[in-house]
């Protein structure tokens, strides 16, 4: 709290967030008030699936905004993490949602979703 946050501690905070929460969405804005269409789209998908998640507003913290890009070696926001693992950005997560793969992936790691995965 006292020392100004450095990039390394931003990375530590990101690590802590993705370790402590099953599903984390780094986004522009908040789940209820997204400030970017791509972030809003993923927030909408997660709420459709009724997945509890932590939304981290990168606009509120430039060090998190830069840090999360380094952390996943991924240049854009939003970023979705499930059980500490980077799943994808807007395109990949949307594609996974449409194919049913997102729901099955979440269920396979023990996160319950409203829509059951498609049966093969």
């Amino acid at each position: 709290m006292n020392a100004p946050a450095q990039t390394s501690s931003a990375i530590d905070r990101i690590k802590q967030d993705v370790a402590e929460n099953d599903v984390v969405l780094f986004m522009k804005g908040t789940p209820n008030a997204p400030q970017c269409g791509f972030s809003g789209q993923l927030a909408k998908i997660l709420s459709y699936l009724e997945v509890p998640y932590k939304g981290v507003n990168v606009l509120a913290d430039p060090e998190i905004r830069d840090g999360v890009k380094q952390f996943a070696n991924w240049p854009t926001i939003p970023q979705l993490y499930v059980k500490g693992e980077f799943v994808g950005g807007c395109d990949i997560v949307t594609e996974m949602f449409q194919s049913g793969e997102l729901a099955s992936h979440l269920e396979s790691v023990g996160v319950s979703v409203k829509t059951p995965p498609k049966q093969g």
Partner: protein, 79 residues
């Protein structure tokens, strides 16, 4: 300054010489593109890894100069 579609294609092909690249300027503003990229380099890789290859080919422009690049990647279909 926005990037030209031809420049995006050139950078992707410099890193992935076999790539077939189709670029659509979604908003007509030189800033929101969709790129479909087909390359043998993607075979066997996760979607995240496939997209990372394209992002690295574009050398840090994505998320900066290039605000939005919707990506679709795939290996060539085997005959």
């Amino acid at each position: 300054m926005p990037m030209q579609a031809s420049e995006i294609e050139k950078m992707i092909k410099a890193a992935l010489p076999d790539a077939e690249v189709f670029i659509t300027d979604l908003a007509g503003d030189g800033d929101h593109y969709r790129a479909q990229v087909i390359s043998e380099a993607f075979r066997g890789k996760s979607r995240v890894a496939q997209h990372q290859l394209v992002y690295s080919a574009l050398g840090g422009n994505v998320g900066g100069v290039l605000h939005a690049l919707a990506l679709e990647t795939a290996p060539p279909e085997t005959a």
